[in-house]
Amino acid sequence: MSTPTIENCLQGIESKHILLDTCFFIDAGKSILLNGEQEYIELIDSFRARENVFVTIFPVAIEFYRGSDLIFDFEQKKNFLIGLVEKIIPIDPQIIENAYQLCLAYRKNGKDVEPTDIIIGATLGKYGDGVLLLTRNINHFPVKILTVSLRYQFNTQMGELSYIQSSKTQPIKLIRFLKN
């Protein structure tokens, strides 16, 4: 099986909201250093052409911003993130409650998951299949616990990018293309 094109990967997710994980902001930034920025521009353009809307959550923003020692550096990161996403989804009581449930589920299954990833999972759970997570770190989401299925995936210079889609009946569904 050959690696699918971006166009093939994005079929069927028109008008969905795409929650960007921290790795996406870092990878997109670092792609400049590897002369791979056109790949990311093309990807972003393809999403926008399908009326997809980029969003993220505050813990992701903080994870991306931290490590900056200068206000100037901090602002560079902030301008990039704010320029890319339409909204930073606030954490509300429902997301917190979902996060508690995920904490218990992960713990029962002996999984150690970062707080940011728990909040991401909780946010996906709230919004159902209207929001998909774009991440490279699928291992950060204990897929076995959450009965996920795999469908879309494509590779970039920085690694494999995947979409994780949630639904209210199945808390998180991971979709990716399988590579040969």
């Binding site: 008008s15 909201h17 902001f25 870092i26 997109a28 930034g29 670092k30 792609s31 400049i32 250093l33 920025e37 990311y40 521009i41 972003i44 353009d45 926008r48 009326e51 997809n52 809307v53 969003v55 490590g67 900056s68 020692d69 200068l70 550096d73 560079q76 990161k77 301008n79 990039f80 320029g83 890319l84 339409e86 909204k87 989804i89 606030p90 509300d92 009581p93 919004y127 209207g130 929001v131």
Partner: protein, 72 residues
């Protein structure tokens, strides 16, 4: 009311205010997408990330640059 109580009251009011806002709604797609602007921002971030990677590999460089930054 003590200073501490004032801060707690202010925080509680802020939480109520945030909760009253329409946080559930997700934005619609915007028509504008400035590729040049995004690319410029990506370049800015790339320089920052490169520096941070250098710092993580060289603590002395990090300390030296931080001291310079905070003294200027």
């Amino acid at each position: 009311m003590t200073k501490e109580q004032q801060i707690i009251r202010s925080l509680k009011e802020g939480i109520k205010r945030d909760a009253a806002q329409d946080n559930d709604s997700l934005p619609k797609a915007s028509a504008s997408f400035d590729k040049k602007s995004l690319l410029k921002k990506m370049k800015g971030v790339a320089a920052v990330l490169k520096k941070e990677d250098e710092y993580s590999n060289d603590r002395e460089l990090f300390t030296r640059h931080r001291e310079q930054a905070h003294s200027s």
